[in-house]
Symmetry: C2
Subunit: 210 residues, 2 copies
DNA sequence: TAGATTGTTAATCGATTAACAATC
DNA sequence: TAGATTGTTAATCGATTAACAATC
């Protein structure tokens, strides 16, 4: 309900990390946390933490710090974590399987409700309580299950057509693991998380020690 | 051999994408590519592409564009892709398995030579031509195989101790998939690629349509 | 009151965009 | 020569850092 100023892009990336630290403190029974404590846990200057909090609408008290519960709530609100959202995975290879079996979904407020593949040998296999379906069913399922986000874990060559299909089905966000840019209408956001690009970046940083 | 000016951080991230496009053009038999063509393929303004090239030491000809072979070589040099490097994975869960089975390694000039885990049930299992070993063997193996990079795919709670072990063994780069910051000496770079953070970012972008 | 900590503005730095010159 | 395309500097914008004021 708080009137939030929109945090800057750089700030958003950090707020995400803060949440992790705050949750940790909360688990340890702490009720308050200082900007210095958050900064120390992440290797970030305390001033930067405070300025991010400032952008968030501020909530701290001198000599005491920030109330962890309140702060966690604020940040969860920024990321819309507490609103239940549905997601589906397209491409049930090794990576799709790893994502399907991971515990990341509830932590971001998502429920993984469906998995699609186009390989007849994979279609119909079970994974936990999810049965892999044909991509031919995608549009119908996305609509009936009100899926808002699609994950692309197909080969690069099939990434754009998969994105097109997801857009047609009506998802509003795409998490793209293929090492290519996919194009979508402005109303559909794309978050790239190519492992390939990550590894190349690692090579660069290894070389430059940066 | 070219004397390269060091590209800016933001520019580096883009150069990586350019390489993908350039390779594509090369496969199609094209010998030259213009900044507009690169930009179009990635949704980036052509001027920005040219300025990145400028930072790279420039190589284009008006009316003709950039020679793909030369450009690819320059960028590969920036990322040190053509120098053979060895890497190991620590943590052979779903994600470790997906990474081990992926084709990203040679594309960045890496060879995955070893995989470690601490679960006795996992140790000794085979995956392709790799046998999973105990983390107890890590230090010795990293030294004898001259492994330069370690991948952390263990649970968050074990991430820091894994990083410590890798540092002790002598790796110079860590690719961290755990959703926590790990601390290392300045001589060891850490590239974070937490899927958890990626999904939270997706949630944010879904909410704000940014 | 003194000291610790947060809140806020100003100065610096880096990256992007705009403008135009140079070249094939 | 005209036009397409690259090369380079200047202006703008945004993010970080520095400085200090405010508050418990």
């Amino acid at each position: 309900m708080t009137a939030l100023r929109k945090p800057s892009r750089a700030s958003v990336l950090r707020l995400e990390l803060y949440l992790e630290v705050i949750d940790q403190f909360q688990k340890e029974g702490r009720t308050h946390i200082t900007s210095a404590e958050i900064g120390e846990a992440l290797g970030i200057p305390d001033v930067k933490v405070r300025q991010d909090m400032f952008g968030l609408g501020t909530a701290g008290r001198p000599r005491v710090g920030y109330e962890v519960e309140h702060l966690a709530r604020l940040i969860r609100e920024v990321f819309d974590i507490d609103r239940p959202k549905s997601a589906c995975i397209v491409g049930f290879g090794n990576l799709g399987r790893a994502l399907a079996g991971s515990n990341i979904w509830p932590r971001a407020g998502f429920k993984l409700t469906s998995v699609f593949d186009r390989d007849p040998n994979v279609i119909g296999t079970e994974f936990g309580d999810i049965r892999v379906r044909s991509v031919a069913e995608l549009i119908g399922v996305v609509k009936t299950e009100k899926i808002e986000a699609g994950v692309i874990t197909v080969p690069a060559s099939a990434a754009q057509e998969t994105a097109d299909l997801l857009v047609l089905a009506g998802v509003k966000a795409i998490w793209n693991f293929a090492p290519v840019k996919v194009f979508t209408p402005e109303s559909v956001v794309v978050e790239d998380q190519s492992l390939s690009w990550g590894l190349v970046t690692l090579s660069y940083r290894l070389k430059t020690n940066q």
